[in-house]
């Protein structure tokens, strides 16, 4: 690979100068039929931001109902539809497509490729999503209502969803197809399109973490598709996969679901690890500490994610040996994760650090994600889990790893690369306001939920005992404030794209390293039509 020069067969004649800026002038041609990785990346990012606000408004309904004990605003069944839809939309509609959006924008620029390997399939993977989510959201307006059994879709409860259940299942199928096509594209791009000299162990961490994520997606999304297909036939065609009365086993669904579900949480967080590993070195003005160990730690986490699934189901009645195995295997994951956290801290150690908004979000990530990781370790203790299981402690745990974890990393990535994408600098002042209010309110929102869970408040309930009132009110206030704060983010992004007068340089940041920073800001519509020369300086890795 290293000696072979790949000349991508693009339809553009390269005359040695930057003539790659031929955008289709027609709106439909530009966006609906686009095969350009930057346009598709933008579409993904806009789509996921939209979903973030739809899912977020559902969270506001949930927090408003939980503001006080008693039933005030919504019916319990609608409340359950809100918790279920909020999760499905945030996981499959906001976080996952946002990472695919960044992958589309960045991976070709980071490895010196002109575009993704399979541009037309790329168009398909995106345009399936709006249809999938229209279908999923439409269930809320159907007579039988949306799914209300939680995003984990456990039978037999989920089988009581009415006819709208078929729409939910097909929506999940379409999301799965979209993710798998996106992943195939990313793997093909990374394997086949790297510029000469961009050896695998020279790739930026974001590319590495996405490569591993793409393999996880291809391995587990089909398993989810199989599981929901079995639910579908149980519901409509009288099969008995999970129906105890017919000889099936509802617990078996949980095993199959979590075989998908645990790798899924790493699908949402591994690209975040990659982003943090790009940003910390830039603003510490030091190379990433322990690049090689970062790659191996990521691969180890991905491998371990396949053998720990039953820690989500400690209370279903497993034999003691099983409980112990899943407990120790789960705890083992904290070793590679710890390697990463220590590498990040060492990267910052004695660096000449500055604290622009991306750096603030990245440091916020390291601190707050670690809190979420530690509460996960507590949940892994099987004996203790019998107390915490299905309480707000679990809710607090996974929101800490997903909101100040994945979502903060997405924010960090946006602030970091937005000047590259748009050619303009965002408002540092408003970025910092956005960071500090997010960081404060996310803790007001989720930290009290630890106490609620330890005191025994169950999740997925619209009403609760009065003893939980104070912490719920604090949590709701934090929730409303956190939700409102995200409007600042939209303002900053729109301002940066359309109004900002401050032009970004190609490097954007003083300490930025990597091929994408050798391109103009914004980069030409078609970049790297001739493979770049990969110089040592352009790489952000240590040696």
């Amino acid at each position: 690979m290293s000696t072979e020069v790949i000349h991508p067969d693009t339809h553009h004649v390269d005359d040695g100068h930057d003539h790659g800026d031929h955008k289709p002038s027609n709106f439909l041609d530009r966006w609906l039929f686009t095969t350009n990785h930057k346009d598709i990346g933008t579409l993904y990012l806009i789509f996921s931001l939209t979903m973030f606000f739809i899912g977020g408004s559902m969270a506001m309904v949930i927090r408003a109902e939980l503001f006080m004990p008693g039933l005030q605003l919504v019916e319990p069944d609608f409340f359950n539809q809100m918790t279920t839809m909020h999760a499905l939309i945030m996981v499959f509609g906001a976080v996952m497509p946002a990472w695919v959006g960044f992958a589309n924008w960045l991976i070709p620029m980071m490895i010196g490729a002109p575009d993704m390997a399979l541009p037309r399939m790329n168009n398909w993977s995106f345009w399936i999503l709006p249809f999938a989510f229209t279908m999923l959201l439409s269930t809320l307006f159907m007579d039988s209502g949306g799914p209300a059994a939680g995003w984990t879709l456990y039978p037999p409860l989920v089988l009581q969803t009415g006819t709208s259940f078929a729409f939910v299942v097909f929506a999940v199928h379409m999301m799965g197809v979209s993710s798998i096509m996106g992943s195939i594209n990313i793997i093909a791009t990374i394997f086949n399109m790297r510029a000469p000299g961009m050896r695998l162990l020279r790739m930026p961490m974001f590319v590495w973490t996405w490569l591993i994520t793409a393999f996880l997606l291809i391995a587990v999304m089909p398993v989810l598709a199989g599981a929901v297909t079995m639910l579908l036939t149980d519901h409509f065609f009288s099969t008995n996969f999970f129906n105890a009365a017919g000889g099936g086993d509802p617990v078996m669904f949980q095993h199959i679901f979590w075989f998908f579900g645990h790798p899924e949480v790493y699908i949402m967080i591994l690209p975040a690890f990659g982003v943090i590993s790009e940003i910390l070195p830039t603003f510490s003005r030091k190379p990433l500490f322990g690049y090689g160990s970062m790659v191996y730690a990521t691969a180890t986490i991905a491998f371990l994610s396949f053998i720990v699934w039953a820690h989500h189901m400690f209370t279903v009645g497993m034999p003691l040996q099983g409980e112990l195995y899943f407990m120790y295997a789960t705890m083992l994951i904290s070793v590679p994760t710890g390697v990463k956290v220590f590498n990040w801290v060492s990267t910052m150690w004695q660096g000449s650090m500055t604290f622009e908004t991306p750096m603030l979000f990245a440091i916020g990530f390291v601190v707050l994600f670690t809190i979420g990781g530690l509460s996960g370790l507590m949940l892994a203790i099987t004996a203790a889990d019998f107390q915490y299981h299905d309480t707000y402690f679990v809710v607090a745990h996974f929101h800490y790893v997903l909101v100040p974890g994945s979502v903060f990393a997405l924010m960090a990535a946006t602030y970091y690369w937005l000047p590259k994408f748009t050619g303009n600098m965002y408002s540092e002042k408003w970025g910092k306001i956005h960071f500090w209010s997010s960081a404060i309110f996310v803790n007001v929102l989720f930290f009290p939920q630890h106490y609620l869970g330890l005191a025994g408040m169950p999740r997925r309930i619209p009403d609760y005992s009065p003893q939980f009132a104070d912490f719920n009110m604090i949590s709701s206030l934090g929730g409303f404030a956190f939700g409102a704060t995200q409007l600042i983010f939209v303002g900053v992004v729109l301002h940066c794209a359309y109004r900002s007068k401050v032009k970004a340089t190609p490097e954007v940041w003083e300490g930025s390293r990597g091929l994408e920073w050798t391109l103009d800001s914004p980069p030409a519509y078609h970049s790297f039509n001739t493979p770049p020369v990969v110089t040592h300086n352009a790489l952000s890795r240590a040696d």
């Binding site: 390997a117 195939i184 093909a188 291809i218 199989g226 000889g247 034999p319 099983g322």
Partner: protein, 181 residues
């Protein structure tokens, strides 16, 4: 090999992996079922025997708790005649349950069963049980339902208590049918 061929090759392979994993999702069902039958996990690996030829009496005594529940789809009352009894290992024994139809129509019910600790299910031998067949009860009819069984004498030493649990469902019960709710 040119780039397009290389991309096609990677795509083909990865599509195969995805299709394979879709199949694997379905294969997990029989895999888990076999695993449970072999190890007793899930407590449903109760052995069935035509007669008592395998029963060899032993002095060891184990206490068995008889548990009964009814799915909400079925308007029946169902309980064990005696909740806890002690049995000698290897001795053919009988336990009685009573079921009563308190609904207004004749209904067919079907019971599922399970043994705790799950390991014990491998040593629990049933020769005849009301759970092997469908049970028809007329409105207001009440019926005694026996289960004939013995415990294999090689039951592991650490098992001192066993729970035998039954759940009655309406015959052909489908959790997606909400008409009875």
């Amino acid at each position: 090999m040119n780039l397009q061929e290389k991309n096609r090759k990677v795509t083909r392979r990865l599509v195969l992996v995805a299709v394979g994993m879709f199949g694997f999702g379905f294969a997990l069902w029989p895999l888990y079922t076999v695993l449970c039958e072999v190890t007793g996990l899930g407590g449903r690996a109760i052995q069935v025997s035509e007669d008592n030829t395998g029963a060899v009496a032993s002095d060891r005594i184990v206490s068995i708790r008889f548990d009964a529940s009814v799915n909400s789809s079925l308007p029946w009352e169902f309980k064990a005649k005696e909740k806890v009894s002690e049995f000698n290992l290897g001795v053919p024994s009988t336990a009685y349950y009573v079921a009563k139809n308190v609904g207004n129509d004749a209904i067919i019910g079907q019971a599922t069963y399970n043994v705790t600790p799950p390991e014990a299910s491998l040593y629990f031998v049933k020769t005849e049980c009301f759970c092997f067949t469908e049970q028809l009860l007329q409105a207001d009819e009440s019926q005694e339902m026996p289960v004939y069984f013995y415990i294999k004498p090689d039951l592991p030493e650490h098992i001192k208590d066993i729970t035998l649990s039954y759940t009655f469902y309406r015959h052909g019960y489908d959790p997606s049918d909400r008409s009875h709710l």
